[in-house]
């Protein structure tokens, strides 16, 4: 009976997405329409698309999984950085809109007069987001296999079709479906918190029970939670303060520099809408996170040791197998909504990186708007297909994987973007050195960290930190040096 109910929820969701997504196709006449919905989005649409893009499978599966394993220490690791990063985006919104650009790498070309910077920005976007979409595909696959009782490798084909359909219509389609997805995310997270807290006997009882847990996190994993650590700010040493602080370089600064949010600033109707969009979206997201925090820690109380392979699978397992409620299907669909609403936005940015920032940037031949938009659709299909193939053997631990990718985004985009907006002395050479240096160190350090440093005392420094530090130093030093040289040349 409950399986039929799940199927009904899924069919209803599919029809809704098809209906809302199709209207975007009629409204695309130019590249600005396709990438930025013609920069016409009002406050409500902007808030919905910003919040829905933000709230991904990392938030809806990875975060409850981390809360399940580490309790309250998962909050400083991720949510603190996200909210502070959003404050950076508010600051960015006012300056960025003064430039007539369609993408963030294009801002680099205009600000630094460098086609190379635009192409490098496009390249990092293509690779970074292809990997980040794996998170969404994995999240979707985990839920779909629970929802319809089908194998993971088959279930991920569904999201492939969903994201292609909703992205082909450009940001108009993405935004319309984002409104539906945000409503589902909001409803699903509040419902899950309500039912889980209720079954734990209220918030105080939930905390009292969580304080006593000292079991294995996942069956057979050997990782034991010390008694009291779920309510401790640093999980009694499992998440040391230095690790939580340096993790800000991944989640916080990566979010601040993230082109998917900067694009939302450019798609808003005006500066006021752009700035308020971020503040109001974070206000809404705060309520969703409170619900997810209670649901994540409450899940541990309901089931102290989960018989699943990864912490990402805990939340859907609790909803499907432990909670046993008729609205469970709606909660599972809300996880799908979180994955889809982020994946389609990211696929649109992959297309812009490949076609606008790399191909059009370097190609001198004329191409009509219509042909160019179709070329974008080909790029969307290609990007989606590569992500799908990579998602067949996905990484474990969505939250950690996501913070590593955002760390690379921070090490490359952050200083050229904010420095270009707020520091007059920032030079092209400084921006290129910062971007390349940050990229090489952050990618190289990830290999060093996971091959040699895990299990040593150096493990407590988040792997995003060295790349961001090098990027910062190169940006300042090379900019100052080249600005000085330029000044001397002008004087002589």
């Amino acid at each position: 009976m409950i399986e039929l109910l799940y199927l009904a929820f899924f069919i209803l969701y599919t029809i809704t997405i098809l209906w809302f997504g199709k209207h975007g196709f009629d409204r695309v006449n130019s590249v600005r329409d396709f990438y930025l919905a013609g920069s016409t989005l009002g406050l409500v649409a902007s808030v919905c698309t910003f919040a829905a893009t933000w709230f991904s499978a990392a938030s809806m599966l990875g975060l409850p999984g981390s809360l399940y394993a580490y309790g309250y220490a998962a909050i400083p690791y991720s949510i603190f950085g996200w909210f502070i990063g959003a404050a950076f985006i508010v600051l960015m919104s006012v300056r960025l809109r003064k430039y007539d650009v369609v993408t963030i790498p294009e801002f680099f070309r205009v600000r630094y007069q460098s086609k190379l910077m635009q192409a490098m920005g496009g390249l990092v976007i293509v690779f970074g987001y292809i990997f980040y979409i794996i998170i969404q595909i994995r999240g979707f696959g985990i839920v779909m296999s629970s929802l319809l009782d089908i194998p993971y490798s088959f279930s991920i084909l569904f999201i492939y079709l969903f994201i292609l359909y909703t992205t082909f219509g450009g940001l108009h389609s993405v935004t319309r479906t984002d409104v539906v997805n945000l409503l589902l995310i909001f409803g699903g997270s509040l419902l899950s918190a309500y039912f889980i807290v209720q079954s734990a006997g209220g918030i105080t009882n939930l905390h009292l029970a969580a304080a006593e847990i000292n079991t294995e996190v996942l069956a057979g994993s050997g990782e034991i939670t010390p008694r009291g650590s779920l309510l401790h700010p640093f999980a009694m040493g499992l998440q040391p303060p230095l690790f939580l602080i340096t993790a800000f370089c991944g989640w916080g600064l990566g979010l601040a520099a993230n082109p998917q949010y900067a694009m939302r600033i450019l798609s808003a109707r005006d500066t006021r809408t752009a700035a308020l969009m971020v503040g109001i979206a974070v206000l809404l997201l705060g309520f969703i996170y409170i619900a997810i925090i209670l649901a994540g820690i409450g899940s541990r109380v309901m089931l102290p040791t989960a018989p699943v392979d990864s912490i990402d699978m805990v939340f859907p397992y609790i909803i499907d197998r432990v909670l046993h409620i008729k609205l469970g299907g709606l909660i599972l669909i809300s996880i799908i909504a979180a994955a889809l609403s982020t994946a389609n936005s990211q696929l649109l940015i992959i297309a812009s990186g490949l076609t606008y920032d790399i191909y059009k940037n370097y190609s001198n031949s004329y191409i009509s708007e219509e042909k160019f938009i179709n070329l974008n659709r080909v790029a969307i299909a290609a990007g989606g297909t590569i992500s799908l193939l990579l998602a067949v053997n996905p990484p474990q631990g969505l939250l950690v994987f996501g913070s590593n990718i955002w760390g690379i985004v921070a090490a490359t985009f952050l200083f050229p973007l904010y420095g270009g907006l707020f520091w007059r002395s920032a030079t092209r050479q400084g921006a290129i050195a910062s971007f390349l240096g940050g990229l090489i160190v952050s990618v190289g350090w990830l290999r060093i960290y996971y091959n040699y440093l895990v299990g040593t005392p150096a493990e407590i420094i988040h792997p995003a930190f060295p790349g961001v530090l090098v990027s910062f130093l190169l940006f300042i030093l090379i900019s100052k040096l080249t600005a000085q040289t330029k000044k001397q040349e002008t004087n002589t």
């Binding site: 400083p76 959003a86 404050a87 985006i89 304080a211 700010p233 500066t271 503040g279 206000l283 705060g286």
Partner: protein, 45 residues
């Protein structure tokens, strides 16, 4: 000294996790309001 609790959660967690969460939660909206009010004052858009 015995550990203090509020709603079953240690006070230290309220101070180090819940309080900063609340501050950071409202930070973007407060910042947006301040920036927009200043812009309105100077007439710049």
């Amino acid at each position: 000294m015995a550990e203090k609790f509020l709603f079953g959660l240690p006070v230290v967690t309220w101070l180090l996790v819940v309080a900063p969460f609340t501050v950071f939660w409202f930070l973007p909206l407060v910042l947006a309001k301040i920036i927009l009010n200043r812009q309105q004052g100077t007439g710049i858009d």
